[in-house]
């Protein structure tokens, strides 16, 4: 079995689209949540989101290429290019033939769907752009990454709602670990902030009207976000041989399904995924220093996730530092696990725990150490990144210090 390391990180996020801007906003708990811009909000009762601002696609793509790229594919390609550059990786023809590209995504090309359906239903347009299908299909992002970088090995999308990014990284990890592929581009992408999607989320009655306050008693729900994070995963041997920078080592991956409620987290199911990831990583619960939580800022998640951490970690939960990045990043569904994996890898790299932003008041049902509001410099040997999706699909990764 190969040892697998993270050598490249690329992000497009509400708090900036460079690795350093992303990390400094996370550490300073500077939230990317704000008033929704660029789409009509008159139909909404919730008018905030964590949007990717200052993203000019024409800086990255010519007009002919852009005609094929929904926003979620633009994000993925820009993040993938950044990850490859960050890894100082030259993709040779031989490597590209074998390399994998695996991208998590929950909702496909929602901007293309929304614009297209508006034209049909409202404007009664007799025709749509000929490339709308290749833009909106949920594999469009990963296909565009493959075309952009010339990756010709195993390439596909993983769709498991809010766990998509984590499932994708876990799958890529297993393929590099077993030697099926020498290198993988993996991560998650989402661009779901359209009128149609936001109205659908409003119907679930879980959106906050002000901001996202994970694990805080004063929480008021989740805030939608968007973005992408992509990574270069390769064997430790390969990375060392070429003198690549190593952010963290991927140690284990655990998955489970609740087979229970369609929306509510099941603490036993979530805990089984955590335990399975720890077993796979051969890491004892007491040797985990930091958990980057799913932490959506809904009462159901935060209380259920706290219970799950207690089940999985037992007595060592008392010494565990847990933070959620969603007060800063919002919840970007299929990209969330990937952006949070970036946060976790960077936490190991910088030996700093990013805080839970917007934390106001302790909740008696959430009684762990949530690293409230202020980052913490503390030794991190092993860390965990968790995602728990609607539909009861859980995915957990365990990382170690490089």
């Amino acid at each position: 079995m190969n040892r697998v390391v993270v050598t490249g990180i690329g992000v497009v996020s509400p708090i900036g689209s460079s690795r350093d801007a992303f990390w400094s906003a996370l550490v300073e708990a500077r939230s990317g949540i704000g008033p929704i811009e660029g789409i009509p909000t008159d139909l909404f009762t919730t008018r905030i989101a964590a949007q990717v601002r200052d993203f000019d696609p024409s800086r990255h793509f010519d007009s002919k290429r852009l005609a094929l790229l929904d926003r979620f594919a633009q994000f993925a390609v820009v993040a993938a290019r950044a990850a490859v550059a960050d890894a100082q990786l030259e993709l040779t023809e031989e490597m590209a033939l074998q390399a994998a590209a695996i991208v998590g995504n929950a909702t496909g090309g929602q901007n293309s769907v929304d614009d297209g359906y508006y034209k049909v239903y409202w404007q009664k347009s007799p025709r749509l752009h000929p490339l709308i299908i290749p833009r909106l299909m949920s594999n469009a992002a990963v296909s565009q990454v493959s075309m952009d970088l010339g990756i010709k090995g195993p390439t596909f999308t993983i769709a498991s709602a809010c766990s998509s990014g984590t499932h994708a990284i876990g799958q890529a990890f297993q393929m590099v670990r077993t030697g099926q592929v020498p290198i993988a581009l993996t991560g998650g992408t989402e661009a779901c902030l359209t009128v149609g999607t936001i109205k659908c989320w409003e119907a679930l009655r879980v959106l906050s009207a002000d901001t996202c306050r994970p694990f805080s008693k004063t929480r008021s729900g989740l805030v939608l976000g968007e973005g992408a994070a992509m990574f270069v995963l390769e064997t430790r041997e390969h990375a060392m041989a070429r003198g690549a920078p190593i952010y963290a080592e991927l140690l284990g991956f655990g998955m489970s399904a609740d087979a229970d409620d369609i929306t509510a987290i099941n603490p036993d199911g979530a805990a089984r995924a955590m335990r399975s990831a720890l077993t796979d990583a051969k890491v004892n619960p007491e040797d985990v220093d930091y958990v980057n939580a799913h932490g959506t800022g809904t009462a159901l998640n935060d209380k259920g996730e706290t219970a799950a951490l207690r089940i999985a970690f037992g007595a060592s939960a008392e010494h565990l530092a847990v933070s959620s990045s969603k007060g800063v990043l919002g919840h970007s569904l299929g990209a969330a696990g990937a952006l949070e994996f970036a946060a976790t890898a960077l936490a190991l790299h910088h030996q700093t725990m990013p805080p839970t932003a917007n934390f106001e008041e302790r909740d008696p049902d959430c009684d762990l150490d949530y690293v409230p509001n202020t980052a913490r410099n503390a030794p991190i040997q092993n860390a965990m990144s968790s995602s728990f999706a609607f539909g009861g699909l859980n995915a957990v990764l365990v990382l170690g210090r490089a």
Partner: protein, 96 residues
């Protein structure tokens, strides 16, 4: 009473229980209503009466209507909220 009857039947239908089980003091959580059941009830009421109930899952059993916090626990709480919103709607129509 008509509004209360409609409210009772929407709740009963949604929870698949006989309407006779619902007294004004019956609490939705006693009936085993989970969060998805509650938002389906809210949706059913909104569709039936053409109103918007500002219910949020994270605000527990409170609903804030024109700055006033109202309880959303029992059958009569729900009926009160619906009546309040219907009165506000009628007023808007009359003045508009």
């Amino acid at each position: 009473m008509e509004v209360t009857d409609d409210v009772r039947s929407i709740i009963a239908q949604s929870l698949k229980i006989p309407v006779e089980r619902l007294t004004p003091d019956t609490r939705l959580d006693e009936l085993g209503a989970e969060s998805l059941d509650v938002i389906e009830i809210v949706f059913g009421l909104e569709e039936k009466f053409d109103i918007s109930i500002p219910f949020k899952a994270d605000e527990g059993t409170r609903v804030t209507i024109s700055g006033e916090e109202m309880e959303f626990s029992t059958v009569s709480d729900v009926a009160n909220i619906v009546q309040r919103l219907l009165a506000a709607k009628a007023k808007t129509k009359a003045s508009g």
